[in-house]
Symmetry: C2
Subunit: 489 residues, 2 copies
């Protein structure tokens, strides 16, 4: 089985009857049928002995759609032309699309009728010919309607989202605990890592189950006012999951797609008030304040059409927030903060309190400018910790995050001030050490920008579950020692 | 081996060390090395027993680039980010690209560093943000420079190209024979079918070898003044061959790409004077005269920058030109015209004479308005036939095209006038009958638009090499009998 995440692919022998008599070109879109189920797939030919002349090999996505089993009899024919691709072409040539056209496109995307090449054309067209306000609203609505939707009683359902791109910054579990302890409702769905060393769902999973279905999620939220579950186990805005894959491959900064992505997920999750955290820094996803403001204005306008009240905060995205990078290491930072330990990372605590305070004000649990103080108090007096433990219990039980069996300290090569951090290379070190697959693996960074470091004192600490992975990470860190630049003092 | 035509793909097991320790995402671009050769490939993971944990499976393109052999030891690492993709992104956002940027993009395309998804973004960007004159010239030059180039003595090197999209219309062998007989030099490279029932190279190959290398092609042209060889055996504008594959999958009408494609091939072939035939019709590639004029103006302007004198002719693209559709059937139409047989298709003869006459005038072998008469005379008195036979001898020897062992006549269902022909469905019948793989397979259409057909007289004749293929084509033709509409008389 070919693991292509989402793209349905059919493999057939280059000398098979389909190839011979139908004149199917390689990369043709074919319709596969099996017991009344159909899937559209891209056809690839193979020339080897693995497939017989009458065999069809399927990628995981095609297999799943057909509910296939080994030995099943699959019919293959030309897929009917995708009508909605002509609307994509119209967009390429600069035409506006109607709500109905956008709905057809998203419907076909979710039905997995688009090949990756067609998805690339769609995303490129929307980057090149930015949709206007009406198109954005229609696109977002189409994406919400194409998946499940959760409704909650009342209209004080708060939510937060970080645009991301910097390592660690694991504020979400702390914020959810504070905000729920303040009496608000915050049903949070989070993602797993795709290209980063850890997603919020990965870090949370080292402490409690996150694979909850909608019924279980609802029970947790009704009981505790908040949750942190994996968004992949609920089917909210599935078009987004499909599009994001190709968007990453292209590395396109498609503001329209970012806005539609965030809003469709939050609207489907039943959010009524949203706080968007936009870290800005040279290696963050958003690189300039101007870009952050543009995204912010665009998003707030579109959100308003859905009655979703949105605020944005532009935060510092120049360095990691917290010490640990990797699922368990990030979870341990979260717990140290919730437990009020003296060595808890202050920057992460401060970031979480600031965002939680804003959310508390947005939810009306405190007056203007009082949110921050209330958030701080809830964290300081242990209410946030108790709420966090109660949420974990409701999700299936709390456990301490694991500790890696192996560590390796990289000391500071000289005394001075830490001047620059390359966040992408640092994230790479954590991944080479095994994160996120090895839960306890990753890297700790023991200094912040501008701080004094002492020659020979620990600067980075690598954590790994196997000697090989640790050696791999170490070799990379040593070969790229300029990822941390120190100005001699 | 995975036959993806051009895209290099690497298959690895989802639990292999690369997947585990490097955090490579599926669809990541990886650099493969083997004995000093490298290839960039898209990474796919498989979960089955066909690949071991340390195995790498390669698509044909990756195999070819690495000059791989079974059991070779391949090193896998992250591909360095494609610098030129940031220029593609700049184009997406509406920026002009410099000659240097376009050269880098085309260089990476030809080195097969672009995945199909990235090629789709490039093509979409150039459709959405049409390049200006300087960009078009630079793009065309980059495409020419990325491949081989043939130079010929003198500046009267003529060439013709048809934009295509209608079945049959096999004018090229006739034109080359007439024009070469008139004393001009016409070194013609032609394509094989990709999605059509036959390309010129396929039809020509039923009469003489077409797989000539540059040295052999040069010898034929120096001796006879003309040739008809397959463009794929010479490496002219290889970027075009790569781009066209994804363009077809997207069905984008990218004028810039069309112009760069035609011009880069012709300039690389050393042409100095070019006649472009643009058939216009509802099922042709170009659908309106306005579109044809737009392409024409664009192409003539860009060609002028290279000193390539270009004329365009807008021709009737509403129906097939000639009778036979399929490699040997089209070759037989060509021979019947060259031999002056009384039943030779008049429309194809007329079309060839018109285009050849124009080329003769462009080449200066006849004065204005005298070209057509000279072309007609050369064809009528047997000079074109003798030249054609001499060219075939020089290319490796002439043979009669094969005849299909099986035929099936579909009679006209009523008496009346033929009113419409769906060219795409008709081409499909020829492909279902086995063309172009089965050389003698295809379909003959025995009436032209507006002509009277008699109930029970042959309307279509299917030709096939196997009973199964013939039955397949017949079933399709019967199920789609409205592809030919007859108005009762």
């Amino acid at each position: 089985m070919l693991e292509t995440q989402h793209e349905p692919i059919a493999l057939m022998h280059a000398d098979c009857p389909v190839a011979r008599s139908e004149g199917f070109a390689a990369r043709a879109q074919v319709e596969l049928s099996l017991d009344g189920k159909t899937a559209v797939a891209t056809l690839y030919y193979v020339r080897d002995h693995l497939l017989g002349l009458h065999d069809v090999g399927l990628s995981e996505a095609a297999w799943r759609r057909l509910d296939a089993r080994d030995g099943g009899e699959i019919a293959v024919r030309h897929a009917r032309p995708l009508q909605s691709m002509s609307d994509v072409r119209a967009k390429v040539y600069g035409n506006r699309l109607s709500a109905g056209q956008l709905r057809s496109i998203i419907g076909d995307v979710v039905a997995e009728r688009y090949s990756d090449v067609q998805l690339a054309a769609f995303l490129t067209a929307f980057s090149s010919q930015p949709p206007d306000h009406e198109e954005m609203v229609a696109l977002t609505r189409a994406m919400v309607d194409a998946g499940d939707r959760i409704d909650w009683p009342g209209d004080v359902i708060v939510d937060k989202h970080s645009v991301g791109g910097i390592p660690a910054n694991r504020t979400t579990p702390i914020i959810v605990a504070i905000v729920a302890a303040a009496g608000l409702t915050i049903p949070k769905t989070s993602s797993r890592a795709i290209t980063s060393p850890a997603g919020t769902a990965d870090a949370m999973e080292t402490m409690t189950p996150v694979d909850l279905d909608i019924a279980a999620m609802r029970r947790v939220v009704e009981q505790e006012g908040g949750c942190v579950v994996w968004g992949g186990s609920v089917r909210l805005s599935p078009a987004d999951d499909i599009l994001i894959r190709v968007e990453r491959a292209l590395d396109l900064d498609c503001t329209a797609q970012l806005v539609a992505s965030v809003l469709s997920k939050k609207l489907a999750a039943g959010s009524k008030r949203l706080l968007l955290d936009i870290p800005v820094g040279p290696t963050a996803k958003v690189r300039t304040t101007r870009e952050a403001e543009e995204i912010s204005g665009y998003l707030i306008d579109v959100a308003a059409d859905f009655g979703l009240a949105t605020r944005t905060m532009v935060t510092d995205g120049t360095q990691p927030v917290g010490v640990g990078i990797g699922p368990a290491l990030e979870a341990r930072d979260v717990l140290r903060i919730l437990r009020g330990e003296p060595d808890a990372p202050r920057d992460l605590r401060e970031r979480a309190v600031m965002l939680a305070g804003e959310l508390i004000e947005m939810g009306g649990a405190a007056g203007p400018v009082e949110g921050r103080a209330l958030a701080d108090a809830i964290l300081a007096d242990g209410r946030a910790l108790r709420k966090f433990m109660a949420i974990c219990e409701a999700q299936g039980g709390f456990r301490e995050p694991p500790t890696a069996p192996l560590t390796h300290v990289i000391p500071a090569p000289l005394t001075g001030r830490l001047e620059t951090i390359d966040n992408r290379q640092l994230a790479r070190v954590a991944k080479l050490a095994g994160a996120p697959r090895s839960r306890a693996a990753g890297v700790e960074i023991r200094a912040k920008l501008g701080e004094r470091v002492e020659h020979g004192h620990p600067l980075l600490v690598l954590h790994g579950e196997s000697r090989g992975e640790l050696a791999y990470a170490l070799a990379y860190a040593e070969a790229n020692s300029d990822m941390l630049q120190i100005r001699p003092a």
